[in-house]
């Protein structure tokens, strides 16, 4: 048999049929659902008189617009102050209840951001196909899984048929070798890659991340890298299964128990690219040269090392790109050649499906311990990615470290990553954010987002501006 990539193997093992017109039916093992992109899908099912193909092939939890203050969360859905959000969260509960779909409701201790919940519960396992009406579904690829975002019509299609009409993508390998410097994290690795290949560099590809740096990353670090594949244009990012993957999965609530464990591990080990596998594109990155990254613009590709400067549009020869830079500088209130460390910050956000896991909070806390948030920073939020992340952090006393420093310690949800709830930036405010998108208005009307790692965000909260955490 010809040598295959990890993606080829995942594709082949889920292919129901390849049709003559070039489209294919791919079997979906797990669909994750949340309140924002599912109501119209359930409504479509009802209107057509259809029911889910396999209800237990889905798992739902509200995350995008749940409030994150303890006060609002105390009385469940009834306590949600925003009446429109309340209807959407209630609608998810009603739909899951009507169609017998497993759900962690807002009051369930396991509730959280779908992309934190799936892996944490062991619902995401190696060798699976996972979809969700959310582009950051690529996160789950960290498990040697084919996982990507879909639209609401496709959510309805997967509900009704447990499969997806799709086409095969091309293969890209991004090989990151060397050793990361202290203070340089998975977030910096993926931001560096996006800066290099651009926000459309991965369009049409499934990206496999490999090399020494990836092998040495924890599962949480790998999730951070895969999470932002979509910011490089690739629907799916993935990492081959190894012992780190298997150790992470073992013992999780939805993971196979002893009865199947040996068989499962044996099957998972095949989900690596063959040595002779051919990729359509190969990119090599020297991990030892990566510095902590900061985005200065309004697209994740607008990124520089923290010791760098805001680019000068005059240096850009391409007219469309020059216009983009000018537009971004104007929106961000920055001037050409300004040092990134000179940007005055108003808010700090630590959380999201990119960086809202326990290791992220531990890293941030390690830098914050015994210090105070700068008086220049108006608000600093820590929003754990899920109930279990929050509980674990509290067992370790991280919440006290954050609170004593002047951070707010919140309830789990997407929060200020996309500001669908009350957590948002005011016009013109600059935010050091561990989230994934710095688009205009993303974190609030005329808000200005700088994407960074949890370590960088924590240091920025203390200083009131960015510093190079790799030299501290």
């Amino acid at each position: 048999m010809a040598a295959e990539t990890l993606y080829d193997k995942l594709w082949d093992s889920h292919l129901i049929c390849q049709r003559e017109d070039g489209s294919a039916l791919l079997y979906i093992d797990l669909q994750l659902l949340h309140e924002v992109t599912s109501p119209q899908a359930f409504e479509g099912l009802r209107l057509a008189g259809r029911s889910p193909w396999r209800p237990e092939g889905n798992l739902a939890t509200p995350d995008h617009n749940v409030p994150t203050t303890a006060k609002e969360r105390m009385s469940g859905v009834e306590g949600v102050a925003d009446p429109v959000s309340k209807i959407q969260i209630q609608t998810l509960d009603d739909n899951c209840s009507q169609f017998a779909i497993p759900e962690f409701t807002m009051s369930d201790p396991r509730q959280g951001i779908v992309h934190v919940v799936g892996p944490e519960q062991g619902a995401t396992l190696p060798g699976m196909t996972v979809v969700c009406g959310d582009s950051h579904t690529s996160t789950h690829g960290a498990f040697g899984t084919l996982a990507h975002g879909i639209g609401t019509s496709e959510v309805e299609h997967v509900l009704a048929t447990q499969c997806l009409i799709t086409g095969k993508m091309k293969n890209m390998l991004i090989q990151i070798d060397g050793k990361l410097r202290p203070g340089v994290t998975a977030k910096d690795v993926i931001l560096e890659i996006i800066g290099r290949i651009g926000t459309a560099g991965g369009t049409g590809y499934a990206i496999e991340f490999g090399g020494e740096v990836i092998r040495n990353l924890s599962m949480e670090g790998r999730m951070t890298v895969c999470n932002m594949s979509i910011e490089a244009g690739a629907l799916a990012g993935m990492v081959a299964v190894d012992q780190t993957t298997i150790d992470y999965v073992r013992g999780r609530p939805f993971a196979p128990g002893e009865a199947y464990w040996g068989q499962a591990v044996e099957s998972w080990k095949q989900f690596v690219s063959d040595d002779a596998a051919v990729f359509d594109q190969l990119i090599a990155v020297d991990g030892s040269r990566i510095k902590p990254q900061v985005t200065w613009g309004t697209s994740p590709e607008m990124v520089q090392p923290v010791d760098g400067r805001v680019p000068d549009p005059e240096d850009e020869v391409d007219a469309t790109r020059r216009k983009s830079i000018e537009h971004a500088l104007n929106y961000m209130g920055l001037s050409a050649n300004q040092r990134l460390t000179d940007i005055q910050l108003d808010q700090v956000f630590i959380g999201s499906c990119t960086n809202g896991r326990i290791e992220d909070l531990r890293q941030a806390a390690s830098l914050v311990k015994g210090k105070k948030v700068s008086s220049l920073v108006k608000q600093a939020l820590v929003v754990p990615g899920s109930g279990p992340v929050k509980a674990q952090a509290e067992r370790e006393g991280l919440h006290r470290i954050f609170r004593e420093a002047g951070f707010q310690w919140r309830e789990p949800g997407c929060s200020m990553c996309l500001a669908m709830n009350a957590d948002k930036l005011g016009p013109g405010e600059h935010c050091a954010s561990t989230s994934n998108r710095n688009f205009e208005g993303r974190q609030g009307f005329h808000g200005r987002t700088h994407l960074v790692s949890p370590l960088m965000a924590a240091a920025a909260a203390i200083e009131g501006h960015f510093i190079d955490v790799s030299t501290v």
Binding site: V84, Q88, S153, T161, I165, A200, P256, G257, T320, F445
Partner: protein, 215 residues
């Protein structure tokens, strides 16, 4: 799904690369549980000067006169001419819903983000990829000529300019068939019920832990 066979309409140029779906329809409008009504908030942060709030009457809001959709020469437009990587970012299908609700039936760009591209096709909207130079030329023509219109013919896969130039575009044959016939994806897939069932049975044997609650 609504059929798409042929379309003629006024072209509006949006001269910006990497237009993301947050820009097309900001998140505060995603709380709706319906598929319609997003049109007034299409490009909300660019069309209006004030902050968009769900439920606000948009007819009373101050317009950003500098934004193309507010230029009278493009009133009644139904074809959006855009730059590379249009529709990047979030998977929200609210983006094509908003475009459609506003009246846009065709988007032409040198490249699209994949999820957005797919989402358009599921809603009877036609995303057309043309070469950089062709798009550049269309931008010049639209800027020069008020009321500039294009004819789009899906059957022959052509964009026809007022000057009679025919620009061919590619489209997946399955998607073309669905658009021309207005076919429902789910009904079509359910014709494969036996194949799906058979696959599922074999999958249960190979990876029983995904199906069997026994731990």
């Amino acid at each position: 799904m609504r059929r798409f066979v042929q379309h003629t309409g006024v072209v509006v140029p949006l001269d910006r690369a990497n237009v993301d779906t947050d820009m097309i329809i900001p998140k505060q409008f995603l709380k709706s549980i319906s598929r319609s009504g997003f049109g007034p908030n299409l490009f909300d942060e660019y069309r209006y000067l004030d902050e968009g709030v769900a439920g606000k009457d948009c007819s009373q809001r101050p317009l950003n006169r500098g934004f193309v959709l507010n230029h009278s020469r493009y009133s009644g437009c139904s074809i959006l001419l855009a730059r590379e990587n249009f529709g990047c970012g979030s998977s929200r299908e609210h983006a094509p819903w908003a475009l459609d609700d506003f009246g846009i039936k065709v988007v032409i760009a040198p490249s699209f983000a994949e999820i957005f591209y797919n989402n358009c096709l599921k809603n009877g909207l036609l995303p057309i990829v043309l070469k950089d130079a062709q798009v550049e030329k269309l931008f010049l023509q639209v800027n020069e000529e008020e009321g500039y219109r294009l004819d789009i013919d899906l059957q022959s896969q052509q964009v026809i300019t007022p000057g009679g130039e025919r620009l061919e575009f590619e489209i997946d044959s399955f998607r073309k068939h669905c658009l021309l016939q207005g076919l429902d994806d789910i009904a079509q897939t359910l014709q494969y019920t036996e194949e799906i069932r058979a696959f599922e049975v074999s999958r249960m044997e190979k990876v029983p832990w995904l199906f069997n609650k026994k731990r």
